[in-house]
Amino acid sequence: MSPRAVVEGALAAGLDLIAVTDHNTTENAAAVTGAAAGTGLAVLPGIELTTAEEVHILGLFDAGADLGPFQAEVFRNLPDLPSKQKFVEDQVLVDAEDYVTGFSPRCLFGATLFPVREAVELIHAHGGLAIASHIDREAFSLVSQLGFIPPGLGLEAVEVSPHADAAAARETLGVDAGLPIVRFSDAHKPDEIGAAATDLLIASPTLAEIRMALAGQAGRKVVQP
């Protein structure tokens, strides 16, 4: 998915706010932010971290955040795998005009060395929101890998797949009453953009507002997961 295709897809789907959450990298988020400039679409940089247990944890960051130190820490903890991996698609680095500017040499599909708790702490240390991805899925989810949601993780929310029933998921997956459930498209291809979205009552599309909505503070809230 190129930055322009992502922005076009998001606008066509009627979305106001998206986050770019590539596996284990934030490197391409700025290109999408650039591609969205002037369109009215808000873009937050993010990541989908793979923990040591092979749990996917989303990190969402402020639009202006300097994620260099965060990314360096992730790469220090992402083991290098043999580069001749025929089954790996090209891991391109791009700019806002869709030009390929380079290739990420890291095997981004690998698991980092961070246990899930450290992954959450790392995201928090860099000012981000930590959300467990697609907890209803049978692979790479907090529940599939660890059987149940570990208590006291400090997550801001948990996410369910586009077609999951959020109320049923809360029951069957044992999501605490205080932990909000959100739903994202997890789009890997342009036609999946907007397959699901979460309605938030917020004053502006910023990380601070999302944080308040997830915490149910100051009148902000998750309207419809």
């Binding site: 246990p115 529940v143 599939s144 890998q145 660890l146 059987g147 570990p150």
Partner: protein, 113 residues
């Protein structure tokens, strides 16, 4: 067969020295997906895994597993050990991979479900 016999014959590392190993091993289960273990392991199974997260102890308690064996030289997280000691769940380890260990266990008569 008791856990003591197995631990001795397979030269397993014992991470929880305070917990007695004189308990029966009725069978074995190998999986790194805790949701799968919750679904399919049986009481008194020896559980072979490379997961070291504290949740493994909770799953072992829930399923009344006889012990956890960490493979591939994995070392339990500090929190995992503390919880194992509290819950009296033996945690052992081996440098061998899951395939090797399960083969040896099978050769000693331990069966899966």
């Amino acid at each position: 067969m008791t856990l003591t016999d197995l631990a001795t014959r397979l030269e397993l590392t014992v991470f929880t020295p305070g917990i007695p190993l004189d308990r029966p091993v009725q069978g074995g289960y190998a999986s790194d997906l805790l949701s799968d273990v919750i679904g399919h392991a049986r009481k008194d199974d020896l559980w072979v895994t490379m997961q070291v997260h504290p949740n493994i102890v909770a799953v072992a308690v829930l399923k009344e597993l006889t012990a956890i064996v960490l493979v591939g030289g994995r070392v339990p997280a500090v929190e995992t050990l503390a919880q194992a000691e509290r819950e009296k769940v033996p945690v052992l380890g081996t440098g061998a991979g899951a395939f090797e260990l399960c083969g040896k266990l099978y050769g000693m008569g331990v069966r899966g479900g």
